[in-house]
């Protein structure tokens, strides 16, 4: 507001001076233009006051609002920390498990489910964010896990086949499992894979990192209890690498998958 008053005051003085000074009309006109520019700047302070100084300090067409990382992961890995002025903000994330699908619900159950969602929204007086994220699965990890499973079952199959103590039904089941994991491994290499993550986030402000993290954890616990009582499934605190999946774009679309996408796109364009 101070900036607005200063600019409006300066504009007013310039316009009054331009009209009353005993100088040539052209000079008066130039002062009027300066006054009107100051008036526009005064109007711009409503939305853009935070950009005035960065714009003034602009170099090579680049306005720098902050040179710091947008956040830091807390030492415990259970929250992210961001600083705004003297205050420290800690944000904690809760994974909300949803095990039901609308395709399996009756019309009445669907209405009830939507109402549960409305109840979650009205849960807390403290502001919180409810999010759903569709992200690209990191196929390297996924393929690794499936390969491990496959190796595990293959090893078991070989062991049971070699020894003669295992019943035939068990050996057949293991053979079936091997086929299943093989098929899965082949199919995931062809198709893009996405997963859905539902989460809630809360932020607490503190004078120090420890204080902010402690308050954020407290708020997250309260929210978790509330959501748990409504949905009947307890949300869990997201920590470590999983937080990065939420806050970093390169984790939402992993590098390996991106390379594959770009390769496919190039091939399609080539065809």
């Amino acid at each position: 507001m101070l900036l607005f008053v200063s600019f409006v005051g300066a504009a007013l003085v310039m316009i009054l001076v331009s009209a009353n000074l005993p100088i040539p009309g052209f000079a008066k006109f130039i002062i009027l233009i300066v006054g009107l520019v100051l008036d526009i700047l005064a109007a711009a302070t409503r939305f853009y006051s935070n950009l005035f100084i960065p714009f003034y300090k602009m170099k090579n067409g680049t306005v720098v609002l902050s040179e710091e990382d947008p956040f830091l992961l807390s030492p415990s890995g259970e929250a992210i920390i961001s600083r705004r002025g003297e205050s420290v903000y800690a944000t904690a994330f809760l994974k909300i498990p949803v095990y039901r699908s609308a395709t399996e619900m009756s019309a009445e159950e669907k209405v009830d489910f939507a109402r549960l969602f409305s109840r979650i929204i009205t849960l807390s007086k403290t502001p919180f964010k409810l999010s759903t994220q569709l992200y690209t699965i990191n196929k390297d990890d996924y393929i690794g896990r499936i390969s491990d499973k496959l190796s595990e079952v293959e090893e078991l199959y070989q062991k049971d086949s070699a020894g003669k103590s295992a019943p035939q039904a068990t050996i057949d089941r293991e053979r079936g499992q091997i086929t299943m994991w093989h098929n899965l491994l082949e199919s995931i290499s062809k198709a893009q894979s996405h997963a859905l993550l539902n989460y809630a986030s809360v932020t607490a402000v503190g004078g120090s990192e420890d204080e902010a993290i402690s308050l954020a954890s407290q708020q997250a616990d309260e929210l978790s209890a509330g959501i748990g009582s409504i949905l009947g499934a307890t949300p869990t605190l997201i920590s470590g690498q999983e937080i990065l999946l939420i806050v970093q774009p390169e984790y939402t679309i992993p590098f390996s998958t991106v390379s594959e996408q770009i390769r496919q796109k190039t091939m399609e364009e080539g065809l």
């Binding site: 409006v8 504009a11 316009i15 009054l16 331009s18 009209a19 009309g25 008066k28 006109f29 009027l32 006054g35 009107l36 008036d39 526009i40 109007a43 711009a44 939305f47 853009y48 714009f55 067409g61 680049t62 306005v63 902050s66 040179e67 710091e68 990382d69 947008p70 992210i80 961001s82 705004r84 903000y89 944000t91 609308a102 395709t103 669907k110 939507a114 929204i121 009205t122 849960l123 007086k125 403290t126 502001p127 919180f128 964010k129 999010s131 759903t132 994220q133 569709l134 992200y135 690209t136 996405h194 986030s201 809360v202 932020t203 607490a204 402000v205 774009p249 390169e250 939402t252 679309i253």
Partner: protein, 276 residues
Amino acid sequence: MMDEQAVIYLVFTGVVALLGILMLNSYGAFGIAAAILSVLTILFILVLNYMDFLVFPAFTSFLNVRILPAKNYVIPKSQNCVIKEVNGLYYATGYLTANIYNYIFSVEQVDESEETKLAEGPEKWEKLVMNVGFPFKFHMLTYAEDLQNFREELEGKRGFLEFQLSKETQSDSPNQMTIDDFNKKINIVQARIDRLSSGERPVGSLMYIETIAVGVSEKAAMDALTGQVNQLQTVFNTFDLSITRVVGRELATLFGFGHFVPSTQADLEALFQRQT
């Protein structure tokens, strides 16, 4: 609706610019030019106040200005996305407003088919997720409003509408359309009071969609992002959504929301006003 702050800014800057017109005689031969410039200034201030999402990107594009909201992130001159470069790949993040009015208590209409919409909601959402083949996030920032204050506001609003209705009915030539309109508005407010009485709590919320696209250059990422944004606008049409791509100053605000949630009700309310 205009808030007090907007009135103050418009009135003061408008009056100052108006002086240029009132004193046009002082500028001699330049009088007409001074008046025209003053009128243009007033028009520009109005545009800046109501359509700054057009002015600011035009300004940054004209000056070829990029904004760095944080380390490793860039808002390009077009002001429509936030870009991050990682290992030679560019990740462009774009935002869309997405207000689901049916889920907000502050809904301004009584919807008779609400039950049907609630029943259709979860299935529509699942179909939507299945059909979107790229990453996106749907966010809802929310807080519960003070029940007592909210109720008092509604009762005050109902009282004022009833006063206007009685004034209209007692006038010499009552207009039936105006009377119907007031009756409809009273019904809306009454329905909301009834919902409060039935145990529902009023909620303030801000909803937005975020999507991320990747490319081997800034342009490739931005082009892919525009495609994704257009696709999201199409698929989210199945809901009653007000979808607009966020451009300009609000981009940096929404980028910040990725790392923290405004912690007080006052902060959030200020943002609602800014968004509208």
